[in-house]
């Protein structure tokens, strides 16, 4: 399919949703559902008075720390588990349980343990993001074709060379799938934390606007965080393309 056609179809997909939203808003289904244009004008005024920017800065601080920690610890732990059976047996039960459990239920426990400050919010991001990153990295490492590892060994590759030149590039597509899923969960995590622990940043705009029935602003804040999450995931994909050139593979 041509690049133009795929771009056109993506545009149609967005437009269809926006039009349906606009129609639903204007039809007056609920007072709590503003139209797309009302939401956008609320976003404009939030941007112009600077409150959206300030809120984003507040939200992005624990989010970026949480994501960085999750990516670094998650990928290294997943690699270690993939390379050593003992590490897998030691850690995988925790992450398998964590992936299956409704982790939002742990937020009150985290608040109890770490207070209402930034630590509990960073932790929330981590527990949401890390399990899928760890488990995908583990699976990715285990999926490295045995003959490629044997090949590198037959040419006297050292352990570090085998890991760096064969296992890591071979595992990178699946690792990046984990990173995209994990970071999307991290965005969910930070909003949950801001709604459930203490209202700050974007979560503050959402909960405050809701309490004073200013639904235009509430939707504007929700829309903004969704867009930033999508853009971040796109950025990860671009990084993968530059670093590992997945389009060259089968």
């Amino acid at each position: 399919m041509s690049a133009f056609k795929s771009f056109f179809l993506k545009l149609v997909s967005f437009l269809a949703v926006i039009l349906a939203w606009e129609y639903a808003g204007r039809a007056g289904i609920s007072a709590a559902l503003p139209s797309f244009t009302e939401t956008m004008s609320a976003m404009l005024s939030l941007t112009l008075d600077g409150s959206l920017g300030t809120a984003f800065a507040k939200t992005l601080y624990p989010l970026s720390i949480g994501l960085l920690v999750s990516i670094f610890i998650g990928v290294s732990l997943g690699m270690a588990m993939g390379l050593k059976d003992s590490a897998e047996w030691l850690f995988s039960p925790i992450f398998i349980v964590a992936q299956a459990a409704p982790l939002a239920a742990l937020i009150p426990v985290l608040t109890f343990a770490y207070g209402i400050g930034i630590t509990a919010k960073i932790f929330t991001v981590c527990i949401m993001a890390m399990p899928v990153i760890v488990l995908n990295t583990l699976g990715a490492v285990r999926n490295t074709p045995g003959s490629l590892i044997e090949m590198a060994k037959s040419f006297q590759g050292t352990r570090m060379q085998v890991i760096g030149k064969v296992i890591l590039p071979s595992a990178s597509p699946l690792i990046f799938v984990g990173l995209r899923l994990g970071c999307a969960s991290g965005f969910i995590g930070i909003i949950l934390a801001e709604l459930l622990i203490t209202p700050t940043g974007i979560g503050d705009i959402i909960s405050y606007s809701q309490s004073v029935a200013d639904y235009d602003k509430m939707y504007a804040a929700i829309f903004a965080i969704i867009v930033s999450s999508v853009l971040f995931i796109e950025l990860l994909e671009k990084i993968e393309q530059v670093m590992f050139k997945p389009e060259q593979r089968n």
């Binding site: 030149k165 071979s170 060259q248 593979r249």
Partner: protein
Amino acid sequence: MTTSISTPIVQVKNVKKVYPGGIEALNDISLDFPEGKLTTLLGPSGCGKTTLLKIIAGLLDPSSGEVLVDGQHITGPGPERAFVFQDFALMPWATVIRNAAFGLELAGVNRTEREAVAEKYLHTVGLKGFENKYPHELSGGMRQRVGLARALAVNAKVLLMDEPFSAVDEQTRRKFQEDMLSLVKNEQKTFIFVTHSIEEAVYVSDRIVLLHRRPSRVSEIIEPKIARNVDPEMIRRQPEYLDAVENIWQSLKKFLD
């Protein structure tokens, strides 16, 4: 030269291999591989021929016994041996030239130097102009040529080939077998070749080692006296070729279930 021909470059001494669970793959194998010859390990599936090749490569440890290369006891892979894999073992994310130069890359040779060597061997195997393609853009036969160039590029004395042509189509396979003959003639290397195809073994080999099935033992060593200095097309019509194929078939037939 006369001394090196008489001293076997690879010696397998009383090698046994028992896999976990008690499956005996090799039972007390002793074999010598003369330098500069192509020796084929031939036998039915499950006879342990790939296991033996991987033990010689140092990729598997024998349960007992030892392998000597150039008179030295081996404990793992070494620079005097290079392996050609049945499934090619090419890195899909790397270009043809990087794959072909990968043995040298691991050895720490700088990029210009290793790519010059790899390029030379890519030409030898007939892949001039494909240096910057990726493996998925190549046919199966061409992929195995990259695997072969990679093994040649490290300039090992012994080339270990594990059913290298079994994953390519019949026409390509025949072309490969012809190319093998000129490679053996021109490269002055020792080849240890694993196959389950009797015709292929007789066509390319100086010596054929027939292996029994589990527990695997050497049942016979055959040296087909085939004239190699003729047109490759004519080899398959020589009575010596046809007799050797027939003899091996009669001998292997006994071990079929």
